[in-house]
């Protein structure tokens, strides 16, 4: 049986301490710049904050994984190199990378620090994963949320590294690291700037009939009836019309949340080494609740006890949830 490490999000130093206290085996975080894919206003760590956070985590036996998982545009690679150097100095336990140039730099310059392959690298086949393992010494792959459990079980036998899967949180639809939707509407790039539906381009407009529109850079991403709950305007979770769908439909995905709590035992049995909880942009109360609940569940499974699934399912109570591609190929 695999160790089933719990990998938890930390958007701020307070969230990091919360995750550590709630029993995270590892936390993942990033600097306050384009070097990571959650470059959101007011979020993330200054170098001083990260150094202190690493101290706190290590004192409590928790690992720190530094996300350097965006793609530097030509001419700006130094920012990513400096971030890697800073992380190595602070003693982070692993770098999470996507770009081959960044991976190559770290493999040569900081060979003692583990490399994890970010979901942003979109490695979804044994061959792609082995490419990164053999060339950059990648020790763990974060799998795209598109494989079924039997496919993961099979994959495990064909690759030389550990597997990390998302188990909870925001449910990405597009192949990560290959999405320019935000840049198309706003001029800020997910891959190069770490930005997705930036708040600076978000507007809500209330209409005379009580309905409300959510807009990104002036494009209406969704429109909500007076009694409907409004959502944040992420392009891939909006409603549009198409020639066969004049009523306005979720062309890509309903706004659902991934929750694989029911599949935990199966995932462990399939050989998944680490479970990732999404949500560096979420509040520390989210971190506290979700991490504690999964901590208890994973400990129960490790000890051979039946975990209390009700607690985990309740985490998304009121919100739609899905097991996504993990459960069935029909999701595709």
């Amino acid at each position: 049986m695999s160790l089933a490490e719990l990998i938890c999000p930390a958007g701020t130093p307070a969230a990091l301490r919360t995750a550590v206290d709630a029993g995270a085996d590892a936390v993942y975080c990033g600097f306050q710049d384009a070097t990571n894919a959650r470059n959101f206003p007011g979020l993330n760590f200054t170098p001083e904050e990260l150094a202190e956070a690493v101290g706190y985590a290590h004192a409590n036996g928790t690992k720190v994984l530094l996300a350097l998982n965006t793609y530097p545009p030509a001419g700006k690679v130094d920012l990513w190199r400096q971030a890697a150097d800073a992380g190595a100095r602070m003693g982070v336990d692993a770098f999470i990378v996507a770009d081959m140039g960044v991976a190559d730099y770290i493999a040569r310059t900081h060979p003692d620090v583990r490399l994890h392959l970010s979901v942003q690298a979109a490695a979804s086949s044994p061959e792609a994963i082995r490419y990164y393992c053999e060339n950059f010494g990648v020790r763990r792959v974060v799998l795209p949320r598109i494989l079924t459990i039997p496919e993961i079980r099979q994959l495990r036998t064909e690759i030389p590294c550990e597997i990390e899967t998302f188990i909870f949180g925001n449910h990405g639809l597009m192949v990560e690291g290959r999405c320019s939707l935000t840049n198309y509407l706003t001029g800020q790039s997910t891959n190069m700037d770490g930005v997705c539906s930036p708040a600076s381009d978000v507007d809500y407009t209330r209409h005379g009939d009580g309905s409300m529109s959510s807009q990104l850079a002036g494009f209406t991403i969704d429109r909500f009836a007076p009694d409907e709950k409004a959502g944040y305007p992420t392009i891939c979770k909006g409603r549009y019309t198409a020639p066969h769908r004049s009523e306005g439909y979720y062309a890509f995905e309903e706004p659902v949340s991934l929750n694989l709590s029911r599949l935990l035992p199966e995932l462990i049995e399939a050989g998944v080494h680490a479970f990732k909880i999404e949500g560096r942009q979420r509040s520390k109360s989210y971190v506290r609740n979700v991490v504690s609940a999964f901590r208890t569940a994973v400990d129960d499974i490790r000890a051979g006890r039946q975990p209390d699934m009700a607690d985990l399912v309740a985490l998304t109570e009121g919100q739609k949830q899905t097991q996504g591609a993990f459960e069935t190929k029909k999701w595709r």
């Binding site: 307070a14 007011g42 979020l43 904050e49 925001n170 509040s283």
Partner: protein, 175 residues
């Protein structure tokens, strides 16, 4: 289960003088609260970035006044203002008082409640996101901290507010 509220409640007779009185009454507390937070959590201002100079209007629906916040460490403003005398704000956050308090304390999740109908955000969305993230980086509970400053009566008021809110929220859920 969404709570439908009228965003701008009509002004009731006698509300204006009452609002002014209420503002006068709470102002000393507000000043103490904000000074103390600023002293104890200096990193908050760094997270606000350029929005240290943004005027935020926090509009708790059931209170007789709104709150004007300008989180500039050089010239900190946090004051109660009658709604009709509110300044032009860069960002406005409007909702039920305890929901606002819970958001500040990150009891509620930003993504979920922040942009739902329960809360209405207008103006500069980035300013609001920054403010939320900055507040979320504070350890402990801002509400508890404030209540503690006011001593036992403060804690009692907070507990009562929470009970009232929970009962109310449940009522809405079953509707």
């Amino acid at each position: 289960m969404s709570i439908t509220t009228t965003p701008s409640a009509p002004i009731r007779p006698g509300e204006r003088p009452m609002a002014r009185l209420a503002c006068l009454a709470v102002q000393p507390i507000l000043s103490r609260v904000v000074r103390r937070i600023a002293d104890r959590h200096p990193s908050l201002f760094a997270r606000l970035g350029p929005h240290r100079e943004t005027d935020f209007l926090i509009d708790p629906l059931e209170l007789p006044f709104a709150l004007h916040l300008r989180p500039d460490p050089q010239a900190l403003v946090f004051r109660a203002v009658p709604r009709e005398a509110a300044p032009r704000a860069g960002a406005t956050i409007r909702g039920r008082f305890l929901l606002l308090l819970e958001l500040i304390d990150a009891e509620e999740d930003g993504d979920a409640a922040f942009f739902s109908r329960d809360l209405e955000v207008s103006g500069d969305t980035e300013a609001v996101v920054r403010l939320r993230n900055a507040l979320d980086d504070m350890d402990g509970s801002l509400a508890e901290e404030t209540a503690a400053m006011l001593g036992p009566p403060g804690r009692a008021i907070l507990a009562r507010l929470r009970r009232a809110y929970l009962t109310d929220a449940k009522g809405h859920e079953s509707a």
